[in-house]
Symmetry: C2
Subunit: 781 residues, 2 copies
């Protein structure tokens, strides 16, 4: 595209911000920080999935030398824990979690906590706490939990000052309908109904949770914590601890990975804060790898999907009933709502209905995870599309091309209230190009290994998307629960460099590098002259979580606007110096020059130094507000899988993974996201799963030996490619990429497995056992 | 004044920013900060006033366990030390100082430096460095230093890349003339000529110099140092060490007092930085109280003043020849130039001339000190005015009222290039009111103690002023050497509070409290809702040194502008919410309401929370640039002194000290400045003085036992009062106060002593010996 040819920074790769420190091992993550007189805290966890604490005695623990504080539910009676933003007066969220409760709702729930002068003493003290429990009957399956007579996990939850009663463990049902679904089914030539169950996988970033809270004079707190949103942390801590928000300062600290795990405030973080306030000393609290499995992960969903379709493949009705197993606490979030929006955005079908229920169970509370409600419904819908294609004897890719949501349609980026009209869609280009690359035309099941004729190779595909941010700017009414806007400050230095002052932290995806590149391109300076500044909640403007694949699109938009504002001042100064009207000047490659006579210009440094010597001031630009929309970025995945019909083993051997991200700001980072999404999607499909004991509910595999992440050796040969689109609402034509890259991968694998063996799996993950069973059932047919 | 009656914040007293931490002893000054693996550095000082280092052997020191680096002049050959801002390409300053030189120019000059794992090891290592010196003849008196044949202290100095030869130790002569001085003398009925010598006093803030430099990956530095200007530190370090300025981050750290001592970058600071870069480890360097006397203090001046006056008291000519003893290094500053501007601004006389010379001597380099060149000339001029009044039999206050510089006259705020037209002047009001309060009308020498009739009580007065900032905005051409502009960022929080993000640090005078009060008043919120934010050179815009009594006026102007910009956004939001045109709204007391129906408004919090829930953004305002002028604030001092004619002891027993500061932003802080100025002025007049050995040049009293600061017990009964003026160019009518408060004090004391004993002292300080000699000479007359 011509517009892209002019770019000097964008579309090229650059060393990531902080990369040098990280490569040298000098980078300080929160876990590396130590403050004088810092205490270490540790949490005592419930051994029962459902129980009441009848008696708790901390006397012995308190007497242990080095122990500075022990807290139990008695210390935090009726302290509601705000884990997600939005609970201020004009915008309340429901609450269901106390810092520490009298009632235990899952194995790993919080019984007590200790702060001591060393971690070892804290751990020893935990063992000295005497607890007497009354065990209660527990329920682990969300479908069972919704049945009458099931154990009651929460009587009620809190909304503002009201108690909202909870019935049948159902919290936050979501219902949405378009057109007339029943009429749609009547128009159909074929109605297909299937139930799909998505897996309970865990984000498992390498960087473990760590939080340091330092009490400040006057009752404030200074906080370093792993978070995808420092302003969210500030808001949540302020509301939970009843401290004025402006007395809390949260430092911007980069993350060792996140995948959504660091959106909701961690239970450990708030306990650390409470202990810091109680002791008056800085408290550090970290989670072990095992403890990480007591929180977060993808909501497992049971999805009953009914689809009506005409013989020619035209969809007439889509109806999904979804049960979302949220675990013991939900903390005001509604992944179910997001699934609803994404389901509504899958295909351009006139009649659609979504009926979703979030159900409590006595399992760890699930959280946000890359894709947030999207990969689950994608798995169901994209499996169903292949089932339909087969029944109607249509090419699965033609079925999709006929019906996919595209330009001019409404896209729901973050539940029913956050939507926009699609302006660019590369889906067709991606499908056609991917089909060519994978060899779709000639696909048939082959046996690739002469010596192992029982290994079958199949090809499958699926399509998907994700939102780019959760801006509701294009919606009729803004979503009250999503404070999704971005901000940036761009400050020029006398030497021609710029400080980019943002709250958004690097979480290892080059997200901040991309934002810096956008600022450099817009200012007209070199990438290396943009310095992403260490900052905190005091020195930055509001930034929502880094979530919803929003860094490049939403924060990039803010950085571009702020850069443009700063540039205006610099151009005015240059116009004065050069005696050339400002509209005849161009800023490019760290120089400002008359468009007509480019050799006559000045460097940024010359302009800024002169401005300083004349006391004209320091150039600064700011921006804060919504991105213009929430455009979907589209992804199409083709995979080849080998299925060993003797062992049931499945291996993805090749993947062709294409994305429509608009302008790729950093091509290698986009490719990194696509490969990473493929990696996580393959794990979702094949190997990953948090397994809990069906009797007592404890997680049996909370470690990386037993929780099977996909390793580099398991990865297929990958080809990535991009559609050629320009998102008109995005910064320099860009959209997101991070989550779309994951969403269709599992369904593509499932479809490929079906292609290889002619038997379909409806639940996650595909274990060898399930393959062998499916083959057995098929033979039995 | 009516305008002031509306104020809710200004004109009232407020707890100082950081006051709670300071009172609790929890506040961290730089000296309190410790970093992991931090080294401690110490400097070896020259025992000779003038010498060449012929041989230096650091072998033994380097071998001492714990020593990480030793540097001598060999490590920093031709490294010019930039101590003051302005040496970038478009704005060069002269340089005369290397980090460590081969030539020693005063006792205490830098021979070598050591960084070691502890301070004790560093000190031990210094003793192991072997040095062989070639002693050179030295000169300590500036008048002698200018004579042909005097020892040559500097052959040449550096300007950009050129060597500028130095003759007769004279650096930077200053000459300025108005009218025709010789003609003026011819018109005079009386011509008086006297020589005055001002003292060499030291700033002596309680907080000692401390600097921590931490090397950053990529060759950068993170710095915590005691400084009156973090951006100046950044600029100076970058230029001295040849590091890109944007790789240096200087934290805003509050000072334990300053009085100008923390303007120029300290020799120890830059040595610490060099050692940090050399070792790759953080280095802390502090100065002992003794070392502090090796740097800084007030330039002692020899002033020959010739004044022509008519019988009716009309001044016809003023001519000053001034010799400024700068010490061993001057580092581009020219206090002499400032004296010139202030001398030209004393009286409205048509014919004036100033002929000033800065002369090197083999004494410690002097620096900037409260009043910077003003109190010296004030002492001379105001002594002379009393001499004239007596000769002409005029009342000294009437002589001053007849001639003082006032409204409509040109005021030189920072040397000849920085000037403005005086718009408000409370001098007459101050003189009349002060005279009434002290009982001027009935003044005569009394003997206040019946049992000690030899104690004589006299009354004296003097008038003075100082600039409010050094903005050259009103001058014909901006001063190339003074990058005196201010900046502020005001960021609103969702809870209705504001972060004030500025580079200017609190140096204990409530200067930042005053700026916060200005921001609160302008925004329309409560004082306690303005949070002055911890920040650094990355997150703040350029701010010049806090100097020239500029905090309230110059930074206050920036804070007011930034607050106004932020308020505009908030008012627009409120207008939308209330459906009231923005120009009909008022922001006051943390509420925004229609002027017509004040009860219908919203709180700031309600507006900001709603704006956030609607994703409108975060309100921010910025401002950067010159203050509109450099208006003088005027001060008049009346003192009563007791002179013990037996012992020669002088005691100031009562002071009436009035100031024209425009609007007093914080009345108690203004009063604090007036009392503090009086304190420092009395010390200047009576007790303080750095004494060096006349043979070898070493400072004999570098400690608080021998250097006599005025103690609380020595202070007189003080009455302060303010003129009723409103500075139209100032924020809410304000001007400065800090330095004016000091400037006329010494002259008032000298005049009072004369009044008491009828003998005049022309040199500083007034020692008992001088009193007894003066009485003896008088008797002998």
């Amino acid at each position: 595209m011509n517009q892209r040819e002019k770019f000097l920074v964008i579309g090229k790769d650059h060393p990531g911000v902080e990369v040098e420190e990280k490569v040298r091992g000098e980078f300080e993550f929160v876990g590396d920080i130590s403050l004088p007189n810092m205490l270490h805290a540790k949490i005592l966890r419930s051994p029962y999935a459902h129980a009441l604490v009848k008696r708790i005695d901390t006397t012995k623990a308190e007497k242990l030398p080095g122990v500075k504080a022990v807290i139990t539910h008695k210390d935090v009676v009726d302290r509601w824990f705000v884990r997600a933003p939005g609970t201020h007066s004009s915008n309340p969220r429901t609450l269901d979690t106390r810092i520490i409760d009298e009632k235990m709702r899952y194995v790993g729930d919080r019984v007590a906590a200790v702060a001591a002068t060393s971690l070892e003493i804290a751990e020893e003290a935990l063992e000295l706490i005497e607890v007497e429990y009354e065990e209660l009957p527990a329920v682990f399956d969300p479908v069972k939990a919704m049945q009458p007579g099931a154990p009651v996990i929460h009587d009620s939850i809190k909304l503002a000052d009201e108690d909202i009663p909870i019935k049948n463990n159902i919290v936050g049902p979501t219902y949405m309908t378009m057109g007339d679904v029943e009429a749609g089914f009547k128009q159909a030539d074929l109605v297909i109904e299937n139930e799909f169950r998505s897996g309970y996988v865990h984000n498992s970033p390498m960087g473990r949770p760590a939080c340091i809270c330092r009490p400040l004079p006057g009752g404030g707190l200074e906080i370093w914590n792993q978070t995808q949103g420092i302003h969210v942390t500030r808001m949540c801590f302020a509301q939970t601890l009843d401290i004025p928000m402006s007395k809390i300062k949260v430092h911007r600290v980069s993350l060792g990975g996140a995948f959504g795990f660091y959106t909701y405030v961690k239970y450990s973080d708030i306990i650390g804060a409470f202990l810091a306030l109680k002791t008056g000393l800085p408290v550090k609290i970290e989670q072990s790898r095992e403890e990480m499995f007591f929180d977060g992960g993808r909501h497992p969903m049971v999805m009953r999907l009914k689809t009506g379709v005409k013989k020619d493949g035209t969809l007439t009705a889509m109806d999904m009933r979804l049960i979302d197993g949220v675990g013991a606490y939900v903390s005001g979030t509604s992944i179910c709502k997001l699934s609803c929006g994404f389901f509504m955005s899958m295909y351009n079908c006139p009649n659609k209905r979504f009926d979703g229920y979030s159900a409590y169970t006595n399992t760890p509370p699930k959280g946000a995870m890359r894709g947030a409600g999207n990969p689950q419904q994608n798995f169901a819908v994209e499996s169903q599309m292949d089932i339909i294609a087969e029944k109607l004897n249509l090419d699965p890719i033609e079925l999709r091309l006929k019906n996919h949501l595209g330009v001019g349609h409404t896209f729901y980026g973050q539940g029913p209230d956050v939507y926009c009209t699609v302006q660019t869609c590369g889906t067709e280009q991606l499908i056609r190009e991917g089909a060519k690359r994978i060899g779709w035309e000639h696909r048939k099941v082959i046996t690739p290994y002469k010596d192992k004729p029982w290994v079958k190779r199949g090809i499958g595909m699926a399509r998907g998307f994700h939102t780019s941010g959760a801006s509701s700017a294009a919606s009729e009414k803004p979503s009250m629960l999503i404070l999704d806007y971005s901000s940036a400050i761009v400050k020029m230095n006398e030497d021609g460099t710029a400080n980019l002052i943002i709250a958004a932290a690097d979480f290892g995806t080059s997200n901040i590098t991309a934002i810096a590149a956008i600022a450099a391109e817009e200012l007209g300076i070199r990438y290396e002259d943009v310095i992403v500044t260490e900052a905190d909640t005091d020195t930055t403007l509001w930034e929502y979580w880094i979530h919803a694949s929003r860094s490049a699109y939403s924060i990039g938009t803010a950085a571009k606007r702020a850069s443009n504002n700063a540039k205006k001042t610099i151009l005015e100064w240059a116009a004065k110096m050069l005696s050339v009207p400002v509209d005849q000047l161009e800023a490019r490659d760290s120089r400002i020059y008359p468009k007509a006579t480019p050799s006559e210009g000045l460097s940024f440094r010359e302009v800024l130094e002169y401005a300083q010597s004349q006391n004209w001031g320091t150039a600064i630009g700011t921006a804060s507000g919504s991105a213009p929309a929430c455009p979907p970025h589209f992804v199409v995945t083709f995979v080849e899988v080998d299925v060993d019909t003797k062992t049931g083993e499945v291996k993805v051997v090749r993947a062709v993974h294409g994305a429509d991200v608009g302008t790729p700001i950093l091509p290698s980072a986009v490719r990194g996201q696509l490969i990473g999404g493929l990696h996580m999607g393959i794990g979702f499909a094949l190997t990953e799963g948090v397994v809990y004991d069906s009797v007592d509910g404890h997680v049996v595999n909370p470690n990386f030996r037993d929780y099977k992440l996909v390793t580099p050796l398991d990865m297929p040969k990958v080809e990535t490619f991009l559609a050629d689109t320009w998102e008109p609402t995005g910064p320099f034509g860009a959209k997101g990429v991070g989550e779309g890259a994951l969403n269709p991968v599992a369904a593509a694998v499932y479809n490929a497995v079906y292609n290889a063996i002619g038997a379909r799996i409806y639940t996650m993950p595909i274990t060898p056992e399930k393959i062998l069973n499916a083959l057995k059932n098929k033979q039995g047919e």
